[in-house]
């Protein structure tokens, strides 16, 4: 009977160690098709989550990765879900209903239009544990749809997230500071949620590194901002890149090779 708590402790310890992660024995694909006209084959692994569930909201992104191969070219695909906050400009703060002010509509248009444009050449920087990085660059332009919530509302109620998710964020906010009335402060801010699926061509050097290196985080560049999936050693961030996520990239590469018959 005494051994049960010990076993639980050992299992918990393993959960935080490298032993807990086993390479995928079975590869799963979201796409595996051949174009009838060109004969080109497209294979994509299922997205695998690479971040912890909690978010600071500080332009941090919760994300997942997959590897796509089409026409013989491999891509790293990154799916992320980020929430950002924007302060209501002073000039509109006193308005009872600023919707009637054209300048206010311009502010909203800018807010939404600026947040999620990923031009050709914009990068994803993958940080490695040897303290170097590898940079991938986009080969196509992408604008994604964003969702926003006005002050006092939450994006989660607009885009269908669960009440429990909202409560978790509220709880974490209160945990972060007992001095600040989060609800009151938050009521002065817009919240913009961005969901995107981005793909980056992988060249030979990057492919070699992604098979061998320990990736410690990804920084995604958009036209007007950055999104980060990272775990910084300042110990000040509660969101992060999961320790073993680099293995998921290796797994995805391996699965693509296997499916491609290499």
């Amino acid at each position: 009977m005494k051994t049960l708590p010990i076993l639980i402790l050992i299992a918990a310890a393993l959960g935080n160690s490298g032993l807990a992660y086993a390479a995928k024995s079975k590869c799963e694909f979201s796409q595996n098709t051949v174009d009838d006209s060109t004969g080109e084959r497209t294979i994509q692994t299922e997205f695998d989550t690479v971040t912890t569930a909690m978010s600071t909201g500080e332009s941090e992104a919760n994300g997942a990765i997959s590897v796509l191969m089409t026409g013989g070219q491999k891509y790293l695909a990154i799916k992320f879900d980020a929430t950002e906050h924007f302060r209501l400009p002073d000039e509109f703060a006193g308005h009872e209903d600023p919707n009637w002010d054209p300048a206010y509509r311009d502010f909203l248009d800018d807010l939404l239009g600026d947040t999620a444009i990923f031009p050709v050449g914009s990068t994803a920087r993958l940080d490695l544990d040897d303290q170097t990085s590898v940079t991938l660059a986009r080969d196509e332009h992408l604008r994604v749809r964003t969702h926003y919530a006005e002050p006092g509302q939450s994006v989660s109620s607009r885009d269908g997230k669960t009440e429990s998710a909202k409560k978790l964020v509220g709880f974490l906010a209160k945990m972060a500071s007992t001095d600040v009335d989060v609800n009151s402060d938050a009521s002065r801010h817009y919240t913009v949620a961005t969901k995107a699926v981005l793909k980056y061509p992988i060249d030979a050097e990057a492919e070699d590194l992604l098979r061998r290196a320990v990736v410690t985080g990804i920084r995604i560049e958009a036209r007007d901002r950055y999104y980060a999936m990272t775990w910084r050693s300042t110990s000040r961030q509660i969101v992060g890149w999961s320790d073993k996520s680099y293995l998921k990239i290796r797994d995805a590469m391996h699965c693509i090779d296997e499916a491609a018959g290499r």
Partner: protein, 208 residues
């Protein structure tokens, strides 16, 4: 006679067991790997933090680094000290923390002298934007003014040679100033001279 010899030997042993030796025995490493491109050994000691500086909004963390045959003092700076009313543009984000090539780190030593190190490569810090009251970051929620705060992060490596290591191990330090583009970052070790630089330097293994 035998007792006298024993005491002499013990005294000599204690004298040779310097503080840095005791640190070296307990060194832990943040990163212990090889450079994936060159195959060189990469060893970064655990970050050691200076005193928290609420007034300047600058945190400084130090690491002793070995990369191949090169030794470095690495400085990680994290700052919260910019405020704007409107959300910063990308250009403003990219220029929030720029540490140029050959940037100088001035270390004020306990005897009042200054020892300078120079960065191997420049760094553009990663900056994220925080909105007061809407984010879950503990550090900035300290009664900052309403608006946006920049949180910038950079790691800069300063090459060390034998002379620099000897000089830095020779005495305690009180303050550091990182000379960046457009601004300087002042990092204090607190009210008393500190041995934190010696602590991380002791974790750099000797060259073969």
């Amino acid at each position: 006679m035998k007792m006298k010899t024993l005491i002499t030997v013990l005294t000599m042993a204690l004298a040779s067991f310097s503080a840095s030796d005791s640190w070296a025995a307990s060194c832990k490493y943040q990163w212990d790997t090889n450079n994936y491109r060159t195959g060189e050994k990469v060893l970064w000691s655990r970050w050691v933090m200076n005193k928290r500086m609420i007034t300047t909004g600058v945190y400084g963390l130090l690491s002793g680094v070995l990369e191949g045959d090169n030794r470095y003092l690495a400085l990680q700076t994290v700052t919260y000290n910019e405020h704007t009313k409107s959300r910063p543009t990308k250009e403003e984000i990219d220029s929030a923390m720029v540490i140029p090539d050959n940037a100088k780190l001035s270390i004020l030593m306990a005897d009042g002298s200054t020892f300078d190190l120079f960065a191997e490569h420049g760094v553009i810090g990663d900056t994220s934007v925080i909105v007061n009251g809407a984010e879950l970051d503990k550090d900035f929620q300290m009664g900052r003014e309403d608006g946006y705060t920049y949180k910038s992060y950079a790691v800069v490596k300063f090459p060390l040679d034998d002379a620099a290591i000897a000089a830095l191990k020779g005495q305690l330090a009180t303050d550091m100033r990182l000379h960046a583009t457009g601004k300087n970052y002042d990092i204090s070790f607190g009210s008393k001279p500190s041995d934190k630089i010696q602590e991380v330097l002791a974790c750099i293994p000797p060259l073969d």
